[in-house]
């Protein structure tokens, strides 16, 4: 389910079935020229990626709008804000929270997050629309959804 009118209407009618939220974490910055391309690319990939996970697990997962933050921001305070999102979502029967990101700096602050962090070793560059990339993403999505499913049992 997406944060979209159509999906939310479905959600409201089937609340008891949808117990998992996924929040993509995407850093943003325009100051470091060297990283611009990489950051933009990873943002694109993660968007596709989380969309694919959603597609695989639509009926039980709510994909939260991407959490965007400044790359250099202090992770502690970002984690506090994120937990605010999670707390709010948990007013509904959501029992599982997953954060997906390519940003490894979250790994150190995993404990502060109220949920499961899925850090994916990033794809640095490439052609998002190529066949190879498609296959890589497919593969990873399959593994991630398997992981998510293992939390359900």
């Amino acid at each position: 389910m997406y944060w979209k009118k159509e999906d939310i209407n479905k959600y409201v009618q089937a609340k008891e079935y949808i117990d998992t939220i996924i929040i993509p974490l995407i850093p943003f910055q325009l100051s470091q020229d060297n990283d611009l391309e990489k950051n933009a690319f990873q943002s694109e990939v993660l968007t596709v990626f989380s969309g694919e996970i959603e597609r695989e697990l639509t009926g039980r997962v709510m994909l939260i709008p991407t959490y965007t933050y400044l790359k250099s921001a202090d992770k502690e305070s970002e984690a506090a804000r994120l937990n605010g999102w999670v707390e709010d979502a948990e007013k509904q029967p959501f029992n599982h929270t997953f954060f997906v990101t390519f940003d490894s700096s979250w790994k150190k602050h995993e404990q502060a997050l109220n949920g499961t962090l899925l850090w994916l070793p990033g794809l640095q560059t490439g052609d998002l629309h190529s066949k190879e990339m498609h296959a890589i993403i497919r593969d990873q999505v399959e593994q991630i959804s398997e992981l998510v499913r293992s939390y359900w049992h």
């Binding site: 479905k10 089937a14 079935y17 949808i18 694919e52 597609r55 695989e56 697990l57 639509t58 009926g59 039980r60 629309h129 498609h134 497919r138 959804s145 499913r149 359900w152």
Partner: protein, 170 residues
């Protein structure tokens, strides 16, 4: 040899002209009903929308295999590439079956033998929905309808798939 020039009389000339113009008018009137009458023939068959899923027919076995392909889709504001998938196999009558992997319960992706507990069935990991090999939902599990079936066609030994339709309509 007649030296006499073939003269067109005024009457003849008028006759010719009138016939000509009248003919044009009649043709003009006839064209639209004609077009309508043969319209079903000219209509582009929906088969034109089928996409090659890069799977040769001889490679299809009785074991359901997942195929993925992309189509271009214009949907309101967005023009996008959409990923499609299907479970394809040959049934006991050697006929090709292509099922949509989208669970009829809440839309998760089902997989063939996705659970070790339920061999020979399609399984939805989200809420344990199950379907028999022919796509029929297993009674007592969350889905209330059989898996959708893709429109399909074989051209030059390759499999082409179109829209997924509820079973019985495709």
């Amino acid at each position: 040899m007649s030296e006499k020039k073939q003269q067109v009389s005024r009457r003849q000339f008028l006759n010719y002209t009138l016939t000509g113009v009248g003919g044009f008018m009649a043709a003009g009137l006839l064209v639209s009903p004609l077009r309508m009458a043969i319209d079903p023939v000219l209509k582009e068959s929906s088969a034109g929308d089928l996409a090659n899923v890069s799977l040769a027919v001889e490679d299809i076995t009785t074991e359901p295999t997942r195929v993925d392909w992309k189509i271009d889709q214009i949907d309101g504001w967005y023009e996008s590439q959409v990923n499609k998938s299907a479970w394809v196999f040959k049934d006991e009558n050697d006929e090709i079956q292509a099922f949509s992997p989208v669970c009829k319960h809440l839309g998760c992706v089902v997989s063939w033998e996705g659970s070790e507990d339920y061999p020979n069935e399609f399984y939805c990991p989200c809420h344990d929905g199950r379907y028999y090999k022919d796509g029929t939902n297993v009674p007592g599990t969350p889905p209330l309808a059989p898996l959708d079936v893709f429109e399909k066609e074989v051209r030059d030994g390759m499999l082409f798939l179109g829209e997924a339709k509820p079973k019985g309509e495709a």
